[in-house]
Symmetry: C2
Subunit: 344 residues, 2 copies
Amino acid sequence: MSLAVATEGFTHRTAVPLRRVPACVAFACQRGARTLRLVPRYGAGAVDAEVRYLWAGAPGAPTVIVQGGISADRDACANDEHTAPGWWEPLVGPGRAIDLNHVRVLAIDWLDAEDVGAPSVSSEDQAGALAALLDALGIARVAAFVGASYGAMVGLAFAARHPQRVGSLVALAGAHRPHPLATAQRAVQRGIVKLGIENGCVEAALSLARQLALTTYRSGEEFGRRFAGGAEYRDGRFQLPVEGWLEYHGRKFVARFDARRYLALSESIDLHDVDPKAVRVPATLIGFTSDRLVPLADLCLLQQQLGAPASLEVIETAYGHDGFLKEPERLAPLLREALNTCGD
Amino acid sequence: MSLAVATEGFTHRTAVPLRRVPACVAFACQRGARTLRLVPRYGAGAVDAEVRYLWAGAPGAPTVIVQGGISADRDACANDEHTAPGWWEPLVGPGRAIDLNHVRVLAIDWLDAEDVGAPSVSSEDQAGALAALLDALGIARVAAFVGASYGAMVGLAFAARHPQRVGSLVALAGAHRPHPLATAQRAVQRGIVKLGIENGCVEAALSLARQLALTTYRSGEEFGRRFAGGAEYRDGRFQLPVEGWLEYHGRKFVARFDARRYLALSESIDLHDVDPKAVRVPATLIGFTSDRLVPLADLCLLQQQLGAPASLEVIETAYGHDGFLKEPERLAPLLREALNTCGD
């Protein structure tokens, strides 16, 4: 995969005025888009895809790729053009574990199937887009790829295909393949969204799919602690304490996410399949004891079979799969250690 | 609650010819319906409800109530009018753990909200219907109440309200209250069914709700063992191994179950709330290690707080909540022991 066209301007989903190279307050910051030539795994041939990215941090410092779950975006941290906190704000920024005084973070918005002109999008397609973006930005090699959840899957796909372009891999709550129970739960989520598309009720359906996803992210212990108590009769029906929380987050998700994009990225997790032996990049794997989507047993297997030295760090938490978002204080020393020892 | 009208004939959902007292091959068998006066918890007052029941076993022997999950029916075992295997066939019958040579099994089809003329139906309503049915059949007291899943919840409600009418309680995979994570999962299931009702796609929605329920019944280990392997491209889309299984069982459920009945019984689980101290009947509690719907911790709490001596038996299994259906050989000795020592 190679660079096709380096766009002069930047395009944005939000109505932010176009600027060539937006200057951030404390660090160099590029937030833009490039049109890159990709060969998607499930497509009919090469396509030109627009890849939206953020590249921010100390000018001239080594680059670290940072990618999150399917609902995360390129804004891992607040920046000049996105002043709201990023999805990993506590861990990315000047002086933080991924220290933008010493590295530059590079991140993309995930491509969906439409972006790559194919019926499905693969974790390899995302990895290919990142590699093509490195070419476009003139980055020969990144110090590390730090990926969480789907980002960890893409990190594994990137390390398997482009080992010479990454010093080390830090994979949080993601493995070489999805667990069949998690696949079943996502298949039902996609079934709900498809039902909504087919029957003119896509927003309500997307909300329900997100609510189902939420029940898989946190542990039973966490649900038990937060939502004890009986039903209340309100507005003509019984309401359980957990229902208000589910519905609130369902609505919030519908306001910021698209149903077809959700279908494509959810499916992409379930199509993900990387041979651990093909990953010949030193790796730090991080798992969470109560993660029911990515069981520790799968990370143990990945560690055993990885084609390079790999350590497995386990964080005991009740936050389940959401541990990568909810345990920043325990993750910070692990990330600092992994990035200090990364081989760039 | 008291008997209102003892019907002379029997009514059936299936098109079986009416008979007064159907004779079974090896044991006395009544399979019919009674109209009983009930005072539903969420209703406006007394109602006459039709209660369909099975009463089968050794003539004159002590009666044991047997109730299963929300999708189970009165036919715990094959009988003269229902020759297909019952939902608990391996455990109920002549010579089996619930031995119809020595006891008579009594079971009802669950009432739904419509049956009791109320917006919601409670586990106490089911217990009340069973008590009124005992009056109608002239049964002063049952030797035991054996309930699994929702049936265990109803057993606890029955024991709390009618302690003088039951010798002992055997509660499998059911507790004094639902777990908030399980409530969240069922709330999403009900949301899917309501979406289907509101948008003219109720069958597809009920299928998806059932598929979601299936992901909560079995353990991750069981899913991992059965559905390993990657996606196959068929009929214009990728299909994961677990999807065919989910869809098959979704269709099967739609063919035999009604959406509004599902809504009512699912909600009834989440409204269930019995004070363990109010249960003054000796109890055997049976739990399954991998049951994510009814965690062992909740059964431990129930055992500690129950208002009478209670033992807790734990079965180590990968079948999760479905352990009560899938582990008959390990359940049989526990049921025999519990019924031999029951105080009638």
